[in-house]
Amino acid sequence: MSEQPFEFFQRDRSQQPPAFTPDYKSTTLRSPRLALWSLQNSLSEVTGPVFGQDELGPLDNDLILNYAKNGEPIGERTVVHGRVLDENGRPVPGALVEVWQANAGGRYRHKNDTYLAPIDPNFGGCGRMVTDADGSYRFRTVKPGAYPFRNFVNSWRPAHIHFSLSGSGFAQRLITQMYFEGDPLIPKDAILNTIPDPAARRRLIAALDLNHSIPLDSLAYRFDIVLRGKRATVFENKLEGN
């Protein structure tokens, strides 16, 4: 049996933002200017860390309760759920999904955030979970608020939740942001607009999912995530001299 059973499809860069996007000014000095070296997958890329459900606490995916001190956080109670699939449409079980966000007023619990909106004493703003056998994940939170950021003089971020994904292979590693259907700030966002393809941008906008909302309790949004797909390397020929 091959010691390396598969490799990932080449990443489709047309669906991804380039490194340098002048309208998101922070990329100016932090974007590599030389071409990335294309590297055929070895074990170093197709393997990746394994995370177990048993490493997580029972409230890790409940942002309403996981930092509650003397009550619950203020804001629209919201369930976010979806599936993590690969490009073949197969579920990715055991994926580590980590999320973070601002509170309902648009303020982050972070040393470096000085926005004048108040900290919510009952809201940490982060959570984590591992996907089920069918690739599904879910967490509960309050909907984050919009906030200004220093880019142009009057730049605002639409409401969004940051997502970090670790699939089965380190080459699938992905960080992204989820937006909320109908937010009028979405088309103006310099960060979402780093992605050149309009259809690709739309895939980051979660749809309101009333069927999964909890009557008299919480709204729900659905956000499916796709990680890179893989192909078996059974017919791989051994190249000379490598």
């Binding site: 091959s2 932090r30 980590e98 940490g124 940051h162 960080i175 393809d197 995530i225």
Partner: protein, 208 residues
């Protein structure tokens, strides 16, 4: 119809932003929330192998130190095997050694640190020449639209590095950006690996 192949498309990346610590390193953001947070110490007291420290800084295109970078490393154990079902080499696994860690460059000094063991050599692609010992590095931050992948090789492995199938595809002038400098300290060897996002010494980043 040619367009009947039903592949999905990878979700687009977005910057991790300046507050990445909240989600991935909450202690650095200024609070503790999870009972078992992830961290930068990969090796436990029982882990076989040589204890090493990996440290460095990340520089932008003007040579300024970046103090808000999130870094992860992924590596094989001392025997040269990854703790992952996709690694089918017949080598021993070390219970308790996941081979993965995460940290941030410090807000004051800009230095990042990992404590781990030196990895062994792993087979190359499809059983070709073995790769030199290396650590896979992935970083994300404000101003980085899509996570950057690179590798850290060891400065005291000149012979293995000379035969490494990945280092050898890179032009000689840039190969050095992937090789960490060994410093011998009281607590054991430290490997200093600085990363340049841009500029004359730009690190080699991979499209993996």
């Amino acid at each position: 119809m040619l367009d009947t192949m039903q592949y999905l498309q990878e979700t687009p990346s977005q910057t991790a932003g300046p507050y990445v610590h909240i989600g991935l390193i909450p202690h650095q953001a200024g609070f503790d929330i999870f009972e078992r947070p992830f961290g930068n110490v990969l090796a436990g007291p029982q882990t076989p192998g040589q204890r090493i420290r990996i440290e460095g800084r990340v520089f932008d295109g003007l040579g300024q130190v970046c103090r808000d970078i999130m870094l992860e490393i992924w590596q094989a154990n001392a025997a040269g095997r990854y703790n992952s079902p996709a690694d089918r080499q017949e080598k021993s696994l070390d219970a308790g050694f996941r081979g993965w860690g995460r940290t941030g460059t410090a807000f004051d000094t800009g230095v990042y640190v990992f404590e781990t063991v030196k990895p062994g050599r792993v087979i190359g692609r499809h059983g070709h020449k073995p790769m030199a010992p290396h650590v896979n590095v992935w970083l994300a931050a404000r101003g980085i639209n899509i996570g950057l992948a690179t590798r850290m090789y060891f400065g005291d492995e000149a012979e293995a590095n000379a035969g490494d199938p990945v280092l050898n595809i890179i032009e000689a002038e840039r190969r050095g950006t992937l090789i960490a400098r060994r410093e011998d300290r009281d607590g054991g060897p430290a490997y200093v690996f600085d990363i340049h996002l841009q500029g004359p010494a730009e690190t080699v980043f991979f499209d993996v």
